[in-house]
């Protein structure tokens, strides 16, 4: 069943066309990874899905409802939560208070503070600490916990690995199957291609705001991904560059 359906989405970032006529579908319970080089439009796409950047044209449907024009705070009630790039914890709030802000809208679902603590066993004993005192990896975990407490149908994760040691990143990604198992669909943006290929059911590679390669990780060759990622070679594999043509 389709959870998210994006059609011909164009988003401008100032004068720059960051996302250019992108279409994609996401089924319930799937993990989709968006990969691509810097400036390919990955983060802008996630921000547009979360309601922070207004799209120029196109439509976004969640659970069959059009949410293209909804402001960010209303999309939380509709079931979208974003783990923003750079974690963006509230620095004057404690760990627990940061988590609780996620539950502000009170959307019903499986996630509670206790359940997030089960997911990250180190968290309860540091819950009264200021969020700014945590390490990068710990902050990322709190940011994920905060998003989960909104009980989203669709969890958006932007650049989870940014500024974190690979071993930490791997450990955080290990919890993803548990999250998806609890009924959440995940759309992740990842610069670390090998990491994205490991955790995703399907990947989209963006180049200059367009999807140039799409498929399941095991069906794609390293060469295909490399070419799509850097935009090398005119002739992309047939059938994979559907949205890439002008």
């Amino acid at each position: 069943m389709t959870l998210l359906s994006i059609r011909d989405l164009t988003v401008h970032h100032g004068q720059l066309c960051a996302v250019d006529g992108l279409s994609l579908e996401l089924r319930k319970g799937e993990v989709l990874a968006i990969i691509g080089a810097n400036g390919a439009g990955k983060s802008t796409l996630l921000r547009a899905l979360a309601g922070l950047n207004a799209p120029t044209s196109g439509s976004i449907q969640l659970n069959g409802r059009d949410i293209t024009r909804l402001p960010a705070h209303r999309r939380v009630s509709e079931g979208i939560a974003l783990v923003p790039e750079g974690r963006r914890l509230f620095r004057s709030l404690t760990v627990e208070e940061n988590l609780l802000t996620g539950a502000y809208r009170g959307r019903p679902g499986p996630w509670t503070v206790a359940r997030v603590y089960e997911l990250f066993p180190w968290m309860p004993e540091r819950r009264r600490q200021n969020a700014s005192q945590l390490s990068g990896g710990e902050q990322q975990s709190v940011a994920i916990g905060r998003a989960l407490l909104a009980n989203p149908d669709l969890l958006l994760i932007d650049e989870l690995s940014l500024g974190l040691a690979p071993v930490i990143v791997r450990r955080i990604y290990e919890i993803l199957p548990g999250i998806v198992g609890a009924g959440t669909t995940a759309l992740i943006v990842e610069q670390d291609v090998s990491q994205a290929m490991r955790v995703a059911d399907r990947v989209h590679c963006l180049l200059e705001g367009r999807s140039v390669l799409e498929g399941r990780p095991r069906d794609l060759t390293a060469e295909q991904v490399e070419h799509a990622y850097f935009g090398i070679g005119e002739a992309l594999p047939a059938g994979s560059a559907r949205e890439g043509h002008d």
Binding site: A50, A72, H73, V76, F90, S92, T101, R146, A150
Partner: protein, 288 residues
């Protein structure tokens, strides 16, 4: 013993300064709005209470109970209708809007109430006092104001730390965009912050009105006390504001003990000293 009396009187006055400054601190903390009309709002509350007392004959405490919630509603509307629009145009726009509001309020008061100096008659409660010993007597009104100010500050602190909306106020102060991401409608959150600010400034305005005279042009000279209390205490910390108010009150009171003409100057000098040597304030914090 005259000095001890001065310290105690200053302490009690400081509570009122803190109550008065809380709204200024809160609006800056949450929305980065410097409300130049803050002092005038207190004066508007004073005149409103005066009009209600003389117009309806209701007892003063009823007027107080009516005015404060009314100002809270007024604050919410002011934020949603007036200030929210200017916020997107940058900090200078909000500064100009509140400056304009200050002038408009002063002139409306002048038009409606004339330039006469007034006081709000609090009856025997406002003038009565009890003696602690031979040289120290404490006014009922001063003590009640101090207790009320502390109670309000504790109440706001509890609201900010214990409730979901209060938490969201602090979160919005840290990072507005991320607060939107977790579901906070920043317009509503800002409205609530302004409502609290207006309610506390109204309460402070009524207390001022009972202890000293006021006229339509009193606002700006009151505003400076709020700024001083906030800066001395440290921006964005409620307890800092209380400490700042008390330091200001005690300094003024001690100054007047030396020479009555020194009252305000002593306060300004301490304010300047803090700005010069400890610009982050006595308590540097960010709770609101």
């Amino acid at each position: 013993m005259g000095w001890l009396n001065a310290v105690i009187q200053g302490l009690l006055l400081g509570g009122l300064y803190a109550l008065f400054a809380t709204g200024l601190s809160l609006m800056f903390g949450v929305m980065r709005i410097v409300n130049l009309a803050h002092g005038d709002l207190a004066v508007v509350a004073s005149f409103l209470a005066l009009a209600l007392v003389s117009g309806t004959g209701l007892p003063l405490w009823v007027v107080l109970v009516v005015t404060v919630p009314l100002f809270a509603v007024l604050g919410y509307l002011t934020q949603r209708v007036l200030l929210q629009r200017s916020l997107s145009s940058g900090p200078l726009a909000t500064l100009l809007v509140t400056f304009g509001l200050s002038i408009v309020l002063q002139n409306v008061l002048l038009e409606v109430f004339s330039a006469d100096t007034r006081t709000l008659d609090g009856g025997s409660f406002a003038t009565g006092s009890f003696e602690l010993n031979g040289s120290i007597s404490i006014g009922y009104l001063s003590l009640a104001t101090f207790v009320l100010a502390c109670a309000v500050l504790v109440g706001i602190q509890l609201f900010l730390s214990r409730t979901g909306l209060g938490r969201m106020l602090r979160a919005s102060s840290d990072d507005r965009e991320t607060a939107n991401l977790v579901g906070a409608d920043s317009r509503h959150v800002y409205g609530i912050a302004t409502a609290i600010a207006f309610a506390t400034v109204a309460l402070a305005g009524l207390m001022f009105a009972m202890r000293s005279s006021f006229d339509p042009a009193t606002g700006p000279s009151r505003l400076i006390f709020a700024f001083e209390a906030v800066v001395i205490g440290g921006l964005g910390s409620l307890w800092g504001t209380l400490i700042g108010g008390i330091v200001l009150g005690v300094t003024q009171s001690l100054g007047s003990q030396i020479d009555p003409a020194l009252t305000l100057l002593a306060g300004h000098l301490v304010f300047l000293a803090v700005l010069a040597f400890r610009p982050q304030g006595l308590i540097a914090g960010r709770t609101a």
